[in-house]
């Protein structure tokens, strides 16, 4: 059975939801506290949403220094599947595991709302089970979710097919409607929307399943 490690920083708050979602897909979830220097025998790692270390300084800026991040970086370098959702995405950019940065939303308010995502690349552990052009209804829930990067990084993202998800109707001012990006190898992915909140029509959408199924099914990518 696939074992997914869910990293818990003080201030994380979506760790239970992320664990619940992967368990519903048949994986086991194990919480890994931020002071841990090892990921144990996890097959994949999720950095969940929330406000790690209170988002003090700026989102993710302190979390990148938590001991667990050294292990996450090593796991990613070895090709292990790593997924950052919302605050987890912010942490991955601050840690340099993903390019770009997340800045405050265009309207300068927090936004909790449904969005429609368009799959832009299947070259990632999150999107490999879906198809380019597929529309997915997945909610966002953030204050600092506007993806930004310089022109060189942007050209490289496009060149290496690293933009994996875009907003159909850009809610927050992200550059080129970017909702999620991967690293070049596709084993590290971050996105601002919450696929774990879109697991059931009872809660409004089950479109997040195809993304998390893909992640749970992913295996470490060889060099």
């Amino acid at each position: 059975m696939t074992r997914i490690g869910v990293v818990v920083f003080p201030g994380s708050n979506c760790e239970f939801d992320a664990a619940h979602a992967v368990e519903e897909l048949g994986a086991t979830a194990e919480f890994i506290f931020h002071t841990s220097t090892s990921l144990g025998d996890a097959d994949g790692v999720i950095l969940p949403g929330g406000f790690a270390h209170g988002d003090y300084l700026r989102p993710g800026a302190l979390a990148r220094f938590s001991p667990v991040m050294t292990a996450v970086a090593a796991f990613a370098a070895a090709g292990g599947p790593v997924l950052g959702i919302c605050n987890g995405f912010q942490v991955l950019t601050e840690a340099g595991l993903l390019p770009g940065a997340l800045q405050k939303n265009r309207g300068l308010t927090f936004l909790c709302q449904s969005t429609t995502l368009v799959v832009s690349s299947t070259h990632s552990v999150l999107t490999s089970a879906s198809r380019v052009g597929t529309e997915l209804v997945v909610p966002i829930n953030h204050f600092s979710g506007a993806y930004t990067c310089d022109d060189d990084v942007y050209a490289s993202l496009v060149g290496h097919d690293q933009i994996v998800l875009r907003y159909r109707d850009n809610p927050n001012g992200s550059r080129d409607d970017i909702a999620g990006v991967a690293n070049e190898r596709g084993n590290v992915v971050g996105l601002m929307p919450h696929p774990e909140r879109a697991m059931s029509t009872l809660l409004g959408s089950a479109d997040g399943r195809v993304l998390l199924e893909s992640f749970v099914g992913a295996r470490a990518m060889a060099h």
Binding site: P10, D17, G54, F110, L111, C112, N141, H194, L203
Partner: protein, 772 residues
């Protein structure tokens, strides 16, 4: 007692030094209350003791003006696990799960510093809930402001909403609903009420009781600073003095507003729940209003044990804090846990993990043997556990023995004139369609700033009749049930008739729950009123309590908690009586979504419930939003007739509950008719779906805009079957019309496109806030 002699005679309070003879007054105590204290102690109190009584006997902490009346509310039921008087009320929701609920106000702090006032309101209510052993699962915020044409009001709205958003989102508890009311009576004194709900495995239930001689009282969380000193007495238990809007807000009171840190609170929640799960906690209570003196005296009084508190053991945020400051500070994000000494190391380890400070600040001690042979549980404040005793008073005298006032009550002299000035018989003037558009305002700009989805429970979120959650959460037994929540108020009704207005407000809440298939199980209330020293305000409060008692008895609902906020006045003007009612309901099986407002082309639109109001007028406009918009604030409300409501509520909630349980149904949409009347309810449904409706005949503008509870708009795909079920249940129905097209036609009075309705609804709030 001689050992108190020679102490410094003056203490500095909110920057003012007072001589001892008048010190009690600057602490908010009256001369007669000082005499009461002398009687309790059989001696003169010292300044520190006076400061303890000052906060504990404040209106905010002691309910001294309202307690007499609150006793008339029903508070028991087979399913009530904890009634009023603890951090939160708790009901048994089934499947081994208890649901804790509590509502509070943070009105005066929010009037002065809207962001921190609202933020700390959220933080405070969450501590009430997790102090019961419950994981907080949802927050709701009923908000009341002045009219938005005032710049200061717009600043308050943005500040309060961002405070709730900033704190609630970060602390990790979804905000799933609330209310938004604008009326000039709140312009200098906005109301910020906060309701929180949590759930617990029933065997984790914790109480704020100290026991076990030798046990430790451990202060968890933040260090103690000078913030919020006198918050309950100087700030919450007095009105605002000035009379000219912005200048009326006393800047001198700003230091009484606390500052919140949601990150500290989040870690405190996790640490406390882990301590409770591991069974390390004998008793636990939050530190809220009146700070450490409140938590120590209340836990000691409930356990009938003494408590020694060492002020030097309290971690302090700044140097040179005086004992009275340490004891009465309202610094946020603190809890007091009673633990056995053997468990201290284990407790410290859990707290270390969550980076939560834990300090032994108190010892549970034997009650003191007095000269007459009686034993009294004393709260002793000491300078070191073996050091000098700085204050020594019976714990229960602080916690339970505040004076009880039966303040004079008087029906307002001008009420008969107001009641006679009835808008119901006014000639209709102008364009009903324009009136309808003017009533529409979606609160979406507010609620999209709140995380409403965390914990994967939110089946129906903000902006609908009631919120509906799966009854699930970390550490809970599994359950198929759901819980429904609604907050309701109607100051327009209560200004005219606080008794029936309050009763109808309770009914309105039950109706909202019915729309999502829930059966109401319990009520909490937040009674926001003016200055209790005004006899008219006390009359309103007393009438309101009686109305609530009548409705709750009639509907079989216990009131399991509440809060009273008085002195909501500015410049000598009291707010309209604003009892806010929080309703908690249960859905037995929640596996499918309720129909919501999603009617479909060709559905029949049916009015369920009595078409006409009980009382003299079939379509009373008194207290309606329509009349208020026109400056018409008089008239007679519909009569409150609980008997004719019960069968309607039961029928509607049963129809929706069957859908939630997975049954197929011809019912496609359900919406309660409330503020803005029938026309507003229909317009909201049209806007939700983009589909219009054709209603052939209505009885004039009265039927469009009249407000009285007990009516629902239901859409059905099979009219005959639906009507037959309603009639079999003894519920009257009126077929109004048919869904279809892109226009809302209401008799001959209204014809307006759904596009215009939607645009107006979506844009009204941001336009009024000058953000669009």
């Amino acid at each position: 007692m001689s050992r108190f002699e020679g102490r410094a005679p003056a203490i500095s309070f909110i920057g003012v030094s007072s001589p001892l003879e008048t010190l009690h007054r600057s602490l908010g105590l009256t001369d007669s209350e000082l005499d009461d204290i002398r009687r309790v102690l059989s001696r003169e109190p010292n300044p520190l003791e006076l400061a303890l009584y000052g906060v504990m006997w404040s209106e905010h902490c002691s309910y001294k003006s309202s307690r007499l009346h609150l006793r008339r509310l029903p508070s028991t039921g087979d399913h009530v696990l904890v009634g009023p008087g603890e951090g939160a009320g708790v009901i048994d929701a089934g499947d081994g799960i208890g649901v804790a609920i509590r509502i509070e106000s943070h009105n005066h702090p929010s009037a002065i510093e809207p962001y921190q006032g609202a933020a700390t309101g959220v933080g405070g209510i969450l501590r009430d809930v997790f102090s019961m052993g419950a994981r907080p699962l949802a927050v709701m915020d009923p908000l009341f402001f002045g009219e938005l044409d005032d710049a200061r009001t717009r600043w308050l709205v943005e500040g309060v909403v961002s405070g709730i958003s900033g704190y609630g989102n970060s602390v990790g508890v979804p905000t799933i609903g609330g209310e938004l009311t604008f009326d000039e009576c709140y312009s200098a004194n906005p109301l910020v009420n906060v309701l929180a709900v949590g759930a617990l495995p029933t065997d984790r239930l914790a109480l704020g009781v100290a026991s076990g001689i030798g046990n430790f009282a451990v202060l968890l969380g933040s260090s103690t600073g000078r913030d919020g000193i006198g918050g309950v007495s100087v700030l919450a238990s007095a009105g605002f003095s000035g009379d000219d809007g912005a200048a009326s807000i006393d800047d001198a009171k700003r230091p009484s507003v606390q500052v919140g840190d949601p990150y500290e609170e989040k870690r405190l929640i996790e640490a406390c729940l882990e301590l409770l799960d591991r069974g390390y906690v004998v008793g636990i209570q939050d530190l809220g209003g009146a700070g450490l003196v409140c938590a120590t005296s209340e836990t000691a009084a409930k356990g009938r044990v003494g408590m020694d508190v060492d002020v030097t053991a309290v971690p302090q945020r700044e140097r040179g804090m005086q004992p009275f400051e340490i004891m009465t500070s309202e610094s946020q994000e603190r809890m007091l846990a009673i633990i056995t000494p053997e468990n201290f190391d284990a407790v410290a380890a859990v707290c270390d993990k969550w980076e939560v400070r834990a300090s032994v600040v108190g010892h549970v001690v034997e009650p003191t043997l007095l000269a007459d042979g009686s034993r009294v549980a004393m709260l002793r404040v000491r300078n070191g556990f073996d050091g000098e005793v700085l204050a020594e008073v019976p714990a229960s005298s602080l916690a339970d023995d505040a004076p009880l006032y039966d303040r004079p009550r008087q029906r307002p002299a001008d009420l008969d004139v107001v009641l006679a000035d009835d808008p119901t018989t006014d000639e209709p003037v102008g364009d009903a369609a324009a009136d309808l558009l003017d009533l529409l305002m979606s609160p979406e700009w507010v609620y999209r700033q709140y995380d409403s989805q965390l914990f994967l429970n939110t089946v129906v979120g903000p902006g609908r009749d009631a919120a509906l959650l799966r009854l699930a959460g970390p550490g809970l037994p599994s359950s198929e049930r759901g819980i429904a929540l609604s907050t309701d108020s109607n100051p327009r009704w209560c200004a005219l008739d606080p008794r029936d207005g309050t009763a109808m407000t309770v009914a309105e809440g039950v109706a909202n729950l019915a729309c999502v298939g829930a059966t109401a199980k319990a009520v909490v209330n937040c009674l926001n009123f003016g200055n209790p020293e005004h006899p008219e305000v006390m009359w309103q409060l007393s009438e309101s309590v009686d109305g609530m008692a009548t409705a709750c008895r009639g509907l079989g609902l216990p009131v399991i908690g509440g809060n009273v906020s008085l002195y909501n006045e500015s410049g000598g003007r009291d707010i309209d009586p604003t009892p806010v009612v929080g309703l908690l309901g249960v859905v037995e099986s929640l596996v499918a979504t309720p129909p919501g407002w999603n009617w479909r082309e060709g559905d029949a639109v049916v009015l369920v419930g009595h078409r006409e109001a009980a009382g003299a007028q079939p379509f009373p406009l008194a207290g309606s939003r329509w009349a208020t918009k026109r400056g018409r604030r008089g008239g007679q409300l519909a009569a409150f007739d609980v008997a004719r409501l019960i069968s309607t509520f039961r029928f509607v909630s049963g129809e929706v509950a069957a859908i939630c349980a997975g049954a197929t149904s011809d019912v496609t949409a359900v919406h309660d008719v409330s503020g803005g009347g029938l026309a507003t309810a229909i317009a909201e449904m049209a806007s939700a779906t983009g589909l219009g409706v054709h209603v052939a005949k209505l009885e004039g503008h009265g039927e469009l805009f009249a407000e009285f509870p007990g009516r629902f708009i239901v859409a059905t795909s099979h009219t005959e079957a639906f009507v037959a079920r309603a009639l079999a249940a003894g519920v009257p129905v009126t077929i109004l019309g048919t869904v279809g097209g892109k226009t809302v036609h209401l008799g001959e009075l209204v014809s307006v496109t759904v596009a215009d309705i939607s645009a107006r609804r979506a844009g009204a709030l941001e336009e009024a806030l000058l953000l669009a």
